[in-house]
């Protein structure tokens, strides 16, 4: 872990200290250390297989790290903490699933409780409020399965907001969206962070859609992480040290590409050839 900036603060929403995660003999995360403050928009960037999902699981309390500590709002993480709002990557629903947008969102309020939901005015008001916050009132009564990817993503964000979290975790929210919807989602999340003072940790494998809005970047590669502003972290020597081999940062037309060896690693670190034999005719 390389600490490029360390703003010591007691108001941290999320702090990770010296986190190590090991799956038997394989070190998946090592010496991860960073903190996020209220209202901060942080991008968790890294190629596939870098340990982003593992890190999310640690913060959600689904996985206990082998070493180190993780605290949310000053308290150790626990499974199902209402202070942490989680937005999954996407939902898989059939077009004719009998579930309206507001039903999906309402599950964020009391989906973990037993019994069937009873209609109540306060419940409805709370749901309407978050639907308004993500600009989803127009399609509140539409079937979820028939909404676009961007609209579904907004609902998932609304759902995560219902428990009034201090930290919002978004797992690859942009990976299945077209450029325009991705841009809308980023703008929405950024305004939520600013207006409501909620800290945001957004996971992505491509940093470019987030360049204008990120306060900080946590770059994860090969189980190592660096944190700081984009300019501080996305540099040849910093990333080369993370990856463990020489990579080069190229800036073209306001976009950043990370290139290492023959592969563009910012989107894909994996050596695809390793799996090509299983593809048969897929890659001819």
């Amino acid at each position: 872990m390389m600490e490029i900036t360390q703003r010591g603060s007691h108001g941290d929403v999320l702090t990770l200290k010296d986190v190590h995660v090991q799956f038997h003999n394989r070190l998946v995360l090592q010496h991860i250390e960073f903190a996020i403050q209220p209202g901060e928009f942080v991008g968790l960037i890294g190629p596939n297989g870098a340990g982003k999902t593992t890190l999310l699981k640690v913060i959600l309390g689904l996985l206990t790290p082998n070493r180190g500590s993780v605290t949310v709002d000053g308290l150790p993480v626990k499974h199902g903490n209402p202070l942490v709002g989680y937005v999954p990557q996407k939902i898989h629903l059939e077009p004719d699933t009998p579930l309206r947008a507001r039903d999906l969102v309402a599950l964020g309020l009391d989906g973990h409780r037993w019994g069937i939901p009873l209609p109540s005015r306060s419940r409805r008001e709370k749901v309407d409020e978050v639907l308004r916050a993500v600009d989803a009132l127009d399609f509140a009564d539409a079937p979820v399965g028939r909404l676009s990817g961007g609209e579904q993503q907004r609902l998932l964000i609304a759902q995560a907001l219902l428990t009034q979290p201090k930290l919002l975790l978004l797992d690859e929210p942009l990976s299945n969206l077209d450029i325009r919807s991705a841009h809308e989602v980023v703008r929405l999340v950024s305004s939520i962070a600013q207006n409501q003072g909620i800290a945001v940790l957004l996971v992505a494998h491509d940093m470019n859609p987030l360049l204008g809005v990120m306060d900080k970047i946590v770059y994860l590669a090969a189980g190592n992480a660096a944190i700081g502003t984009v300019d501080e972290v996305v540099q040849n020597e910093v990333l080369s040290r993370l990856y463990g081999y020489d990579v080069e940062v190229i800036r073209v037309r306001g976009r950043i590409l990370v290139v290492g060896g023959n592969n563009e690693v910012s989107t894909d670190l994996l050596q695809p050839t390793q799996h090509l034999d299983s593809m048969g005719g897929a890659t001819d």
Partner: protein
């Protein structure tokens, strides 16, 4: 006129004591299947709904071999099958495991039938469903098990819904997704045990799929969809009992045919409606473009 009614509602249909049993247990079974079906369709667990009754049949054969009440064997095998499928399934996917457990259960059933010449009519009625077969089942058992299944589903409703729609999100919320899914499978297994004697092992699944799938085309409101699913299932079973009593043909056939017809109607209706709505939207788009 009265002769027409007499032809449809044969004498004794409502007065014979075993027929009253049939009407009551048929209704219970339809209500449970309708509710369970909502989740079966939501989760896409059609294969499990098909496999558990079919696999449970093997248990009935085993019970016949041992001289025990067949419904006990049925319940043991369908619940056991449900537990094994839940235990072996990974990340919410269980189609391969379902196929393996189903074939294993049926293989065991084949063994039981081979070792012992089971009295054939009993096996037939368990396969195809038998209006009169219900008399052998304690109606109290059916009612108790039925209420148990419904109560469990009411309790599980929200976590099961969350786990079905977005399992990662559910896990993050502190829900034990695996256990919830396991509970659901066991409920399907239990419901199977009381449905098979009436509808038959071959076609119990039709009552757990088609009415709920039909309902999902009619309404997008979850609670209304459950209600609609139950209504379709109950009407299906009532008509089936009626016709089966008149014709002497197996109940299962009528249940499958009527439930599928309801599905076809609902789907056709949805297509017509969405076509109308689309054209309205197209017209709006067109007017936007021209203006």
């Amino acid at each position: 006129m009265s002769t027409v009614w007499n032809a449809i509602l044969s004498p004794g249909m409502f007065s014979e004591s075993f027929m009253i049993n049939t009407w009551i247990s048929g209704t219970i079974v339809a209500v449970i299947s309708g509710i369970i079906g909502f989740f079966v369709v939501l989760r896409g667990s059609a294969f499990v709904a098909h496999a558990l009754p079919k696999g449970g049949f093997a248990g009935a054969a085993g019970a016949a071999l041992l001289g025990v009440n067949t419904v006990i064997g049925l319940a043991l095998f369908s619940v056991g099958g449900a537990l094994s499928i839940g235990w072996l399934s990974r990340r919410g996917r269980h189609d391969v495991v379902t196929a393996l457990i189903l074939t294993f259960l049926l293989g065991t059933g084949d063994l039981f039938l081979n070792l012992h010449d089971v009295y054939a009519p009993e096996i037939y009625s368990l396969l195809f469903g038998e209006v009169l077969g219900v008399s052998g089942v304690e109606i109290v058992d059916t009612a108790v098990l039925g209420i148990l299944c419904v109560a469990a589903l009411v309790i599980l409703y929200r976590p099961l819904m969350l786990a079905s729609v977005m399992s990662e999100g559910a896990e993050a919320r502190g829900i034990r997704v695996r256990q919830i899914e396991m509970c659901f499978l066991v409920i399907v297994g239990l419901a199977t045990a009381i449905t098979v004697p009436i509808v038959g092992a071959l076609l119990t699944f039709s009552l757990m799929i088609a009415p709920a799938a039909a309902a999902s085309y009619v309404t997008h409101h979850p609670m209304r969809a459950v209600g609609m699913s139950v209504a379709i299932a109950v009407v299906t079973v009532w008509i089936s009992i009626l016709v089966s009593y008149d014709t002497g043909l197996p109940v299962g056939f009528f249940v499958a045919a009527i439930a599928t017809a309801a599905y076809g109607l609902a789907r056709g209706w949805r297509n017509l409606r969405s076509r109308g709505r689309l054209s309205a939207r197209d017209r709006q788009k067109l007017s936007e473009q021209t203006s």
